[in-house]
Subunit: 117 residues, 2 copies
DNA sequence: CGGGATCCCGATAGATACTG
DNA sequence: CAGTATCTATCGGGATCCCG
């Protein structure tokens, strides 16, 4: 991988690039969770439990990888406060914020067609 | 799975339902390909080559599974003409058509942010 | 022509244990 | 608290052959 993977998908259709970018079970929901501002690792982790099946917690390895991938695509930014105990938070970049309306479109459609009574 | 999986995802967030619905590499692009009307199996197959890496053709088993899944979710409808040689085509249902604008939002965003010069 | 059946493989996610 | 290391189970996708 070179240093700016944020501009991958060139030449192909935008949908393919989108698919790769949000691949994985949690990326879209993480982005949505960050739409109101920065959140800490543990907050994101807890937030992902609501809305799922509620049974199992997400494995730290998985969440970590999702966050790294999102950061690499330039959608979120990691901020390490370097304190002890450690504090790290994640926030949307401008590019990430520009993606929020798309998620909103998805959410609205899903709400209308996918949620039973 | 029971017989009406088209209304799954109740209770959870719409994004999860969306993710399950369009999981796989081709589903969104198939839907997009059908936005202008019905297409035959082979046409869809060929259409998926453009925009990809162009190297390999999609395995019939994979395409078949994607189409079945989309039909099961109620997004497309399969029409078998029962002739010989066989002719089958697929078209969007009203629900599938309602999803097109969402794909368009994805496409537009991807075009603006993901495609390099 | 439009698939189904079978085998294989890489990527991904879950569980568990450990650490700066 | 915010991760990393390891291991394993599962899944989605590709290749190939075959059939109505």
């Amino acid at each position: 991988m070179d240093k700016n993977d944020s501009k991958r998908g060139r030449g192909g259709c935008p949908v393919l690039a989108f698919q790769r970018m949000v691949s994985g079970k949690y990326k879209i929901r993480i982005l949505w969770d960050l739409k109101d501002g920065a959140r800490r690792y543990g907050e994101i982790r807890s937030g992902l439990l609501r809305g799922g099946d509620g049974s199992a917690a997400i494995a730290p390895r998985v969440l970590s990888r999702e966050l790294k991938a999102l950061a690499q695509f330039g959608l979120i930014q990691r901020k390490d406060y370097g304190t002890v105990p450690p504090k790290v938070d994640y926030r949307l970049t401008p590019m990430g914020k520009s993606f929020v309306p798309v998620i909103d479109a998805i959410r609205k459609w899903g709400h209308r067609h996918l949620t039973a009574a």
